[in-house]
């Protein structure tokens, strides 16, 4: 990632495609999807500079972007690790051992929930219901849902992610799911 905040050609094409979905003058509608693209393109989080850039593309005020980005839970306003592990903690996952999964990951990575590993590889976060209650417990990382978790599955996943060492985004095309 360079210092200048500017979409590359491919990302810009995606953004333009998104804007074209809405009637003329309603380009603000593109804000959420464009923020997802921006977060994926610029290091997995939305810096003030990134948000100002998005505002300029959509021709809206920067405060409109801050208001929205800070409202939704998927936008990171602070840097996170390459792999943001989001473990569901709501009822159905909780009764099937979500707390164990969190504790296990905490022990394995030597971090507490909400923290990032020193090497910047993993951030652990607990989140609310991800609609995977029938396949609980589960965690999401980027676009992928990892369901029916066991400690062995979690270990294998962490190993795989550490080896690949790549930024996982919601917009990834190579998603995995086990539903």
């Amino acid at each position: 990632m360079g210092n200048e905040i500017k979409f590359n050609e491919e990302a810009m094409a995606t953004v333009n495609k998104i804007i074209a979905r809405y009637p003329q003058g309603k380009q603000k509608s593109a804000l959420l999807p464009v923020l997802h693209v921006a977060q994926a393109e610029f290091g997995g989080w939305l810096s003030p500079e990134t948000m100002d850039y998005v505002a300029s593309i959509l021709n809206i005020k920067p405060i409109e972007v801050y208001e929205v980005a800070s409202f939704y839970s998927m936008f990171n306003l602070k840097p996170v690790g390459k792999c943001l592990l989001e473990v569901c903690r709501t009822s159905s996952c909780w009764v099937r051992g979500a707390e164990d999964v969190v504790k296990h990951i905490e022990k394995r990575l030597g971090i507490k929930e909400g923290e990032t590993t020193k090497d910047g590889m993993f951030t652990l976060k607990t989140v609310e219901c991800l609609g995977s209650c029938g396949t609980a417990p589960m965690l999401q990382c980027g676009a992928s849902y990892h369901e029916n978790l066991t400690m062995e599955k979690v270990d294998a996943l962490l190993d795989e992610y550490r080896a690949a060492s790549k930024l996982r985004s919601y917009t990834d095309m190579d998603y995995k799911n086990t539903l």
Partner: protein, 447 residues
């Protein structure tokens, strides 16, 4: 074996592709509606079907459609609510992921009925990968002439787009969804005006749940009257139920409305009973917002009659002894579950998801979570139970949108039916503290 209309083909290989979907009767409703029915005919069939909104509220779909204002020269929109965020609910995800064309087809047929030329599917951001599946399906539908200009050679045109959200339960509320679709914070609007008059971009808009829209296809094909024959009374047709918790076979099941609750829980065709042969303690029958019921009240109502999976039967007895069908998020808890701790996870959820716009919900949800946290940590006070009761009462009905009610009902019902558990936590904190109230993952794997 009950009749299935929505996910009967879910196990067919490659049913997510247009060709396979079409080989199994897909897109027939588009052909039928566009070529042999007027938009109004479609609306009439939906009215006759008795279909009720599958997102949770259960409002008659045909009636909702007939409220749509049709001023000259103003575009109308159909927006699909695929924000599925109600804890315990994952049926829409299953449907969209397995049979994306079922939703695309429903969107086309429904948009035609409503006279909408642009439609959006608003899907929760966490389902990003499902949005990819839908986009692929939409691409195929464009290529096959089911979308775009002059669909199937008629003069009806429709553009369909997918919009991803950013992570907010509140966007499942239809006006918050529209705000979000306009690129704003998901703050519910103050109604009236209702979306049917002023919705997306101030234009007349219908917002329907994924399952509701998918159900329009079989209704058009079989006719509203035939559809209405399935089910019991005002609960017509089939319903997708998301089953989770301490059951042997969690998953999405399509049931005919009217199935006895007991059969749903214990039959091998559905949930397959409670894991490890344990006793059932409680059920949340319609997504986390609806009242939790103890085992005896979910199987039979207060008159001793068996409860059925219908809107009416589940709500029999009011909130004193009944609950709601809601979104069909069916969560089963066995005898080991701590109702108090489970409630704490739900209170935490509503606190996390309150948009903050109106005071009772913004302040009340956080307050309830803090009290419950204190109780589960063993620092509860005897007065906390009545305080919780009073707070939930002061939230319920006094907020802009139903999130306030949704946060209040679980607290009220847990206290109503399991007050003794709260007292146990408060009176004997040392006893409760180290008891593990959930299954460990490995315990489940061995089960």
């Amino acid at each position: 074996m009950g009749k299935k209309l929505l996910i009967h083909n879910d196990k067919i290989p490659n049913i997510h592709t247009l060709n396979v979907y079409r080989e199994h009767g897909g897109y027939a409703s588009v052909e039928k509606a566009l070529k042999s029915m007027t938009p109004n005919d479609v609306v009439e069939e939906v009215k006759k079907s008795g279909l009720r909104g599958r997102g949770g509220a259960g409002f008659p779909t045909g009636m909702k459609w007939s409220f749509l204002a049709k001023p000259e020269g103003v575009p109308r929109y159909l927006v699909c609510n695929a924000d599925e965020s109600e804890p315990g609910t994952f049926k829409d995800r299953y449907l969209m992921e397995k049979i994306p064309h079922a939703l695309v087809e429903g969107m086309i047929t429904s948009s035609y009925a409503l006279g909408a030329n642009t439609a959006y599917i608003y899907i929760r951001g966490e389902y990003f990968y499902v949005s990819r599946i839908l986009e692929k399906a939409i691409e195929e539908a464009y290529a096959a002439g089911y979308l775009g200009k002059n669909i199937l050679g008629t003069n009806y045109s429709l553009d369909l787009y997918v919009q991803v959200g950013g992570g907010a339960y509140i966007c499942g509320e239809e006006t918050a969804l529209l705000e979000s679709l306009e690129g704003k914070r998901g703050n519910p609007r103050i109604k009236p005006p209702f979306p049917a008059i002023a919705g997306l971009y101030g234009c007349p808009t219908v917002v329907n749940n994924v399952e509701t829209i998918a159900a329009v296809c079989p209704i058009v094909m079989m006719g509203g009257d035939e559809y209405a024959k399935i089910g019991v009374g005002r609960s017509t047709g089939t319903k997708l139920i998301s089953a989770s918790g301490h059951i042997n076979k969690p998953g999405v099941y399509e049931i005919e409305l009217g199935l006895p609750v007991e059969e749903f829980i214990y039959s091998d065709e559905y949930c397959g009973g409670i894991i490890n042969g344990r006793k059932m303690k409680a059920v949340i029958a319609g997504g986390s917002s609806v009242p939790i019921l103890p085992a005896e009240l979910i199987l039979k109502n207060d008159k001793g009659e068996p409860r059925l999976m219908t809107y009416e039967s589940l709500s029999e007895g009011g909130f004193a002894t009944g609950t709601m069908l809601g979104s069909g998020g069916f969560m089963v808890y066995d005898e080991t579950t701590s109702i108090v701790k489970n409630l704490y996870t739900l209170a935490r959820f509503y606190h996390h998801e309150s948009c903050g716009q109106c005071s009772p919900c913004r302040e009340g949800t956080g307050w309830m979570e803090k009290i419950l946290h204190r109780i589960v940590e063993g620092h509860g006070k005897p007065s906390d139970i009545d305080l919780l009761w009073d707070i939930q009462k002061k939230i319920e009905g006094n907020t802009i949108c139903p999130l306030g009610d949704a946060a209040a009902w679980p607290v009220a019902s847990a206290i109503r039916h399991f007050r003794h558990e709260f007292e146990e936590y408060i009176n004997n904190p040392s006893k409760i503290k180290d008891v593990k109230h959930y299954y460990s993952v490995n315990q489940l794997a061995g089960a």
